[in-house]
């Protein structure tokens, strides 16, 4: 198998990721891509606490993820890769072909962002980043949990 879900979610590992998506996908590992968490063992332990022991959690910087992506894609287990911002996924997608689909699962309110969906707030620059990602051939949709319908990019940007 490989990475079944590439997700942008500013809560990183939480209930929707581990239970909502993790259970139906029967995942064996989660890759958390975040430079600050990668550098902080205490934060890593905090994120591990919410994950059952049988699921591996891998912490990576964006640069490390860029290098390791092909190895994770060859992993026989199913995995989820989650990053807290669009830029990380945009880098992993490269010039196309490495990431087929990106799931916008949760980007919450911050100054400069406006509400696009209940769980997606974007600045105009972030909306443009997502459109640029789509222009490279990546299918970008918003969907917080698997039972919800995916929302096409054009409906929230």
């Amino acid at each position: 198998m490989s990475i079944a879900l590439f997700r942008i979610d500013d809560r990183l590992i939480h209930g929707q990721v581990v239970v909502g998506w993790g259970k139906p996908l029967n995942i064996g590992f989660i890759v958390l891509v975040d430079d600050a968490v990668r550098a902080n063992p205490w934060e890593q332990e905090l994120y591990r606490m919410g994950v059952p022991a049988e699921i591996d959690v891998v912490f990576a910087t964006t640069a490390e993820a860029d290098q390791q992506l092909s190895a994770w894609e060859r992993d026989p287990r199913v995995g989820i890769l989650v990053a807290g911002d669009i830029a990380a996924l945009a880098r992993l997608a490269g010039n196309g072909g490495r990431v087929e689909r990106v799931n916008v699962g949760g980007l919450h309110h911050r100054p400069g962002r406006t509400e696009r969906l209940r769980y997606v707030y974007l600045s105009d620059a972030e909306a443009a980043e997502l459109k640029a990602l789509a222009a490279r051939g990546v299918e970008v949709t918003a969907q917080d949990v698997p039972t919800a319908s995916p929302v096409p990019l054009e409906d929230f940007t």
């Binding site: 809560r11 606490m49 769980y119």
Partner: protein, 126 residues
């Protein structure tokens, strides 16, 4: 006498509000607990809600799940503080016990609440 401990229920959706209403309905105590939902929050916004709920006073944070954003935000907030303790797996039984034992130090109150909550989980013969 120092001010009684404050309990902050930290949950997904409206679990916290519902538990608070149940405690008030059963005990008549309606000033011991503060509900905080993670609805619509990133980690920064949830931290703001928690800080507002605690208001710099000694507190026990009752978190719904032993993982996820409610827990990570609560543990980050409690880190290094002796006057803030965290309990996971909040249930009604532990809250009912807590509201009558708010004179304990936060760590002791948290342990006591966890024991009360654990004792309430049973599989009675029907």
């Amino acid at each position: 006498m120092s001010e009684p401990l404050r309990g902050v229920i930290v949950s997904h959706a409206a679990v916290a509000q519902a538990l608070l209403a149940a405690v008030a309905a059963i005990t008549g105590v309606n000033d011991a607990l503060v509900p905080v939902s993670n609805d619509g929050c990133d980690t920064g916004a949830l931290a703001d809600r928690l800080n507002q709920a605690i208001a710099g006073k000694p507190a026990v944070l009752f978190v719904d799940l032993p993982g996820g954003s409610c827990l990570t935000s609560s543990v980050r907030l409690a880190r290094g503080k002796t006057d803030v303790a965290v309990v996971t797996g909040v249930n009604l039984a532990m809250l009912l016990d807590f509201v009558f034992h708010r004179d304990l130090p936060p760590g002791d109150a948290a342990r006591r609440a966890a024991e009360a909550g654990s004792r309430a989980i049973r599989t009675p013969a029907a």
